[in-house]
Symmetry: C2
Subunit: 578 residues, 2 copies
C-alpha cells in the first residue's frame, strides 16, 4: 500500500510537532548532497540507489540527504505522468524508501510525482511535481512545486498542476523551506515562493532541481542563488540532477550558498555521486569559485560525453559505429564516443566514394589508429556506379558534375552501409552533423542524417573546431590534416562547403543571432553593421526556415545551447519570411 501522503500546509510552521523539539546542535549540520543520475521509469533501480545512499549518508552521520527533483522516476517523464499506473508505482516505491529511514536520525528529501486530488482539469496536468520530506520511516510532508516552467524544453503545464501552498518545516531547530527547481527562478512570475518562505520564517531553503545543461547555465545559477540568499538572508542548498536523458543533459553542479550569498560548496559537473558538506555559520568561510573551464570547450565536451554515455547505458546499447569522412565532425564524434564508451566499443568506417580525397581515407585511418578503435573500409563506388547504370532510364544526367540526386545518393549509400552494419553487429549509428549543417539543411536525410543519436547537432561548426583543439590538448588524437583541411562534403569534384555556404564564422554568427537570440533579419543586420550583406542574412534565414522538414526527422540531438532544436517548435508549412 502506498504511504498516506500528508500534504504540506502553511499551517505547518505555526504548528510545532515533536519533530522540532530536538534542540539545535552546536556541531555543524551535515548535508548529504545526492547528485543522482536516475533512469526514467526505472523505479526499482532508482529506489535501490536512493535507499543505498540514504544508508551510506546515515552511516556518515549526515543530518539530511537531498535528492534531485523527480529522482524517484527520472526527469522529464512527459506523458508518462499522465499514466495512473506510473504515479501509483512511484508511491509504492516511495513507501519502501520511507521504511528505509526507520530507526535512523537522518531526514531525506526526495523528488517524485504525486497524484492530484482534482482530476480532469484541462487548465493544467493532473499530477504534482512533488518533494517528499521523509523522517523516521514516514513521509512527514509533501510539497508541490508552485512554478511550472512551460517554455523551451519544458512543458510542465501539460503534465503537472501547480502547488498553491508554501512549505516550511520545523527541523532540528531550523525552519526549512522547500522549493523545487523553477520555484526559485521566480523573476518572471507573479507568484514568489521564496518571498512566502521568508514571510513564514524559513531560515534555510532546500531546492531540488532537474535543470538541464547549456553553455552559461552555471554562471546563471550561481548569480541566482547568491542573489536570493543575500536578498532574503537565508542559506540555500541547491541539488541538481546529473546525467543524460534523450536530448537533455543534466550537469549536476549542486551548490550551497550561505545567507550572505557566498558559495561554500560545489559538487562536480557531469559526475554522479553522494557528496557531503558540513555547514556552520562562520565569520570567514571559504568560498569556492566556479572552475575556470566553465563555459569553455572542456565543459561542452564533458557534457556531450555524458549525454552520449547515458543514451547508450540507459537504453542498453553497447557498441557504436561512426562513418569517418576524414572531416572534423566525424573525428570529434568518434573521439567523444571513445571517451564515453571506451575504444573497444567503437568502430569507425570510412566509405570512400567517387569524389573522396585520398585524405578522407588516410586521415580517418590515422584517427582510428590514434583512438585505438576498430576500423573498416567500405567503398561505395561500385554500388554508386551500379545504381546509376540502372538509373540510366531515369533521366540521370550522366554529366561530369553530379546532380543533387547523385550527391544525395552517395550520402545515402553510406547510410545504407552503416545501418546494415548497425543491424548486423548490434551497433548504434552516431550521426555526425553539426548545428550549422542542420540549421541550413546541408545534410542528407537517410544519408549522413541516419542514426540513433545526433551527438554534435547542437554544436556550431566553429565550436566543433574548438572542441577538437581542446581534446588535442589532452592527447593529440585528431590528426592535424583533419583540423586544417577546408570542410567539404566530397560529393562532387573539388567541392568545398564554402561553395554553397558563407564562411563558417559568418554563418555561425548569423545563425546564433537568428536561432539563439531569435532576432529578425533587420535586427541581425543592425547588430552586425556592415560586416555581412543583407543577401547573405536573407539566404541563411531562408535556409533555416526551409529546412525545418529535415530537422523533424533527426534522432535526438544532445542539447548544449540555450536554444536547441528540441525546444524550438516551428511549423514546417510556413510562409513567413523572418
Amino acid at each position: 500500500m502506498p504511504v498516506p501522503l500528508f500534504f504540506c500546509r502553511t499551517a505547518y510552521s505555526s504548528r510545532p510537532t515533536s519533530y522540532d523539539t530536538i534542540p539545535p546542535m552546536n556541531k555543524p549540520i551535515r548535508f548529504a548532497v545526492a547528485q543522482m543520475n536516475p533512469t526514467v521509469g526505472d523505479y526499482a533501480k532508482n529506489t535501490r540507489k536512493i535507499i543505498a545512499w540514504i544508508r551510506q549518508a546515515a552511516a556518515k552521520r549526515a543530518d539530511l540527504i537531498v535528492f534531485p527533483e523527480a529522482a524517484l522516476c527520472g526527469y522529464p517523464v512527459w506523458d508518462l505522468a499522465n499514466k495512473k499506473q506510473f504515479v501509483t508505482e512511484g508511491l509504492k516505491h516511495l513507501d519502501l524508501i520511507a521504511k528505509a529511514t526507520q530507526g535512523k536520525r537522518i531526514a531525506a528529501a526526495v523528488g517524485f510525482i504525486a497524484p492530484c486530488k482534482v482530476h480532469g482539469d484541462r487548465e493544467t496536468g493532473n499530477t504534482h511535481n512533488a518533494m517528499a520530506w521523509i523522517e523516521k520511516g514516514k513521509v512527514r510532508a509533501v510539497y508541490h512545486k508552485q512554478l511550472l516552467p512551460t517554455y523551451d524544453v519544458f512543458l510542465e503545464d501539460i503534465f503537472f498542476r501547480p502547488g498553491r501552498e508554501t512549505c516550511v518545516l520545523p527541523w532540528r531547530g531550523f525552519k526549512a523551506g522547500l522549493t523545487i527547481c523553477e520555484d526559485i527562478w521566480d523573476e518572471r512570475y507573479p507568484v514568489k515562493p521564496l518571498r512566502s518562505l521568508k514571510d513564514q520564517g524559513a531560515d534555510v531553503v532546500i531546492n531540488i532541481s532537474a535543470s538541464p545543461y547549456y553553455r552559461g547555465v552555471a554562471a546563471s545559477r550561481d548569480a541566482l542563488l547568491r542573489g536570493h540568499a543575500k536578498r532574503y538572508g537565508f542559506p540555500m542548498l541547491y541539488v541538481n540532477q546529473v546525467g543524460g536523458q534523450d536530448d537533455l543533459i543534466f550537469d549536476g553542479r549542486s551548490i550551497f550558498s550561505d545567507a550572505k550569498g557566498r558559495i561554500l560548496f560545489r559538487a562536480p559537473a557531469f559526475e554522479e555521486g553522494l557528496f557531503f558538506f558540513d555547514w556552520k555559520p562562520a565569520p570567514q568561510p571559504h568560498e569556492v569559485p566556479l572552475p575556470e573551464w566553465t563555459g569553455e570547450p572542456k565543459e561542452i565536451y564533458n557534457a556531450l560525453v555524458m549525454g552520449l554515455r547515458d543514451y547508450f547505458q540507459k537504453n542498453g546499447f553497447k557498441k557504436a559505429v561512426i562513418g569517418l569522412s576524414g572531416g572534423i565532425d566525424s573525428a570529434i564524434v568518434a573521439t567523444l564516443a571513445v571517451d564515453a564508451l571506451g575504444a573497444g566499443a567503437v568502430k569507425g568506417v570510412t566509405m570512400p566514394g567517387p569524389f573522396s580525397s585520398k585524405g578522407s581515407w588516410k586521415d580517418s585511418e590515422q584517427l582510428a589508429k590514434n583512438l585505438g578503435i576498430e576500423f573498416e573500409v567500405r567503398p561505395i563506388k561500385e554500388m554508386y556506379e551500379k545504381f546509376l547504370k540502372g538509373a540510366g532510364t531515369r533521366k540521370s544526367t550522366g554529366k561530369a558534375v553530379p546532380s543533387v540526386a547523385m550527391e544525395n545518393l552517395q550520402a545515402r549509400l553510406r547510410g545504407l552501409e552503416l545501418m546494415f552494419l548497425s543491424n548486423n553487429e548490434g551497433r548504434l549509428v552516431l550521426t555526425t552533423g553539426n548545428k550549422s549543417e542542420l540549421a541550413v539543411g546541408y545534410c542528407t536525410l537517410y544519408g549522413d542524417m541516419a542514426g540513433g543519436l545526433a551527438v554534435i547537432g547542437d554544436v556550431y561548426k566553429t565550436d566543433v573546431y574548438r572542441l577538437a583543439w581542446y581534446r588535442n590538448t589532452i592527447r593529440n588524437v585528431i590528426p592535424k590534416a583533419i583540423l586544417t583541411k577546408a570542410p567539404s562534403a566530397e560529393l562532387r569534384p573539388d567541392q568545398k562547403d564554402e561553395d554553397s555556404l558563407p564562411p563558417y564564422d559568418i554563418l555561425d554568427t548569423v545563425l546564433y543571432l537568428y536561432i539563439e537570440k531569435n532576432l529578425s533579419s533587420d535586427a541581425i543586420l543592425r547588430k552586425l553593421k556592415k560586416r555581412v550583406s543583407p543577401a547573405v542574412v536573407a539566404e541563411v534565414i531562408h535556409k533555416v526556415d526551409h529546412n525545418e522538414y529535415k530537422r523533424r526527422q533527426t534522432p535526438p540531438v544532445l542539447r548544449v545551447s540555450e536554444k536547441a532544436w528540441f525546444g524550438r517548435r516551428m511549423p514546417i508549412t510556413n510562409r513567413f519570411k523572418g
Copy 2:
C-alpha cells in the same frame, strides 16, 4: 502604422456607443461564415482573401462576416508567435483589412495574434490569441482568448497569455459576446467565459475556432454547442478553420445553434468557402442534422485527402511518388494521392526484391492502371545481391532465411530508389506505413519510413481496409487481390505479418486501448476479458514503448484520431513497463 488597438473591456456593455443606436431590424440577420483555409505565415495571401471575402459578403448584404481563429496568420504558428516581427507584420495587415471595411455596413470578426503589454513573463507566452471586431474602417474592439488549451496537440500556454476580460459588444440592437475556440470548451476550467457573457447580457455569441479534426469531433462539437446555447439561452455561431497544416487537419463544419440548441446551419466538412445564413428567431425552424457519414470511413478519407493536398499546395510541391508493394497500405495512399493531387501528379513505383510475390508487381500495375497514374518498375534484386556480395566479409549470414539486417536492407534499397527519384524528378515521397505498424515498429527507418509525409500513419490497419472498401464503393480502383491477400512485408520467403504480430483485429484493439485510451496492461486485460492473453498484451505494449525512437524520426503524420503521435510525448529512454 498599425491600427491603435482598443482593448475590449467588460465596461463596454454598459457604455453604449453610437454603434448600437441602430435599431434592431425586422429583417433577418445575415451572417457570412468565412470558413477559411489560411496559410501559416502568409500574411499577404491571407489578407487578400479576407478582404476579397469581406467585399463579397458586403455585396451580398451580410451584416457580419466571421473568420476563424488566427485567420490572419494561420494556426498553429508555434514559436513564430514569439517573433516580434511576426506579430508586428500581422498588425500591419489587420490595418489593411480594417480600411477595407470603410464605407461599408458590414462588420467583420477576424482572428489574429495581438501583442502583449507585459513582456518577459514566464508564466505564459507573450502574445494574445485575439479577435478583432472591425467596423467602419476601424478595429472597434480586440478580445483576448481566455482559455488556452495546453494538452495533446495544443501548447498555447507556451505562446499566448490568457485574456482576463469578457467582451460584450452592443451591435445592431444585440449584445454580441465574443469567444475564441477553447473559451467554450470550459467544462474542465474554473474560468467560465460563457457564464460571464450571460451575466453581462450577451444575447448572441460568436465563437471563432481552429479546432482540428479527429474521428468523433463533429458530434462532440454539436453536443457542446447545443448544450451551451440551451443552458444560457443565447444563439451561437461557431466558425472553424478548414485545411491542413503539417500533421493537423482542420475540418471546418462551422455551425449555428439557436437559443434552444437547434442546429440551423452547417457549413460543409473539409471545404473552404464563404457561406451565408439568414437568421431570424422562428417558432418552427428547420434543423440540419449531421451528415450520415460523420465518423465513417468517408469522413477519414476526405480528411486525409485535404491534409495531403494542403501539405503539397502550401509547401509548393507539385508531384508525388509512392512505392507500391502490392499491399493495401500503398494502394490506399496512392488512391488518396490521386484524389488529392490528380492522377497526372502521381507516380507509382514497384520495386520487386528477392522475396516479392508475383502479385506485388502485377497487382501494383493493375492499381496504377485503374488510377491512371504513371507506373515504373525498379527491381532492387541486383543491388541487393551486389551489396551482400560486398558484405561477405561483414559476417553476413548467407543463410536461406535473411537476417534482420538483410530484411532492412531490402526496405532501405527501396527508400534509396524512391529518394533518388524524388530528387531527380522533384516528387515528394509519400510514406505508406499505417498506425499499427508505426506503433509496434514493424517498419524500417530510412526504408519504408523514408518520405516527406506519413499519410496513413494515424490510421490503424483494420481502418485502412475500411477506407479501401469505402473508396471502392465510389469506383472499383483497388484490385480485389490487394484487398484479400494476407498482409506481408515480403522481406523473407513466405513471410506474413501475422508471423511476427498478433492478428490485426486483436493488435488494433490492444493498441487503441493503450494509445487512445491510455490504459495500463491490467486495465486492458480487464476490458478485453479473456479474449486476449496477458502475454500478447505485454508484448504489444513492450513494442509500442520500445519503438519510440523510430517514431521520433517520422515525417509529419496526418492526424485523424484523438490521440495521434504528434500529441503523444513520450521519452525514448524509458524503463517503465506500462
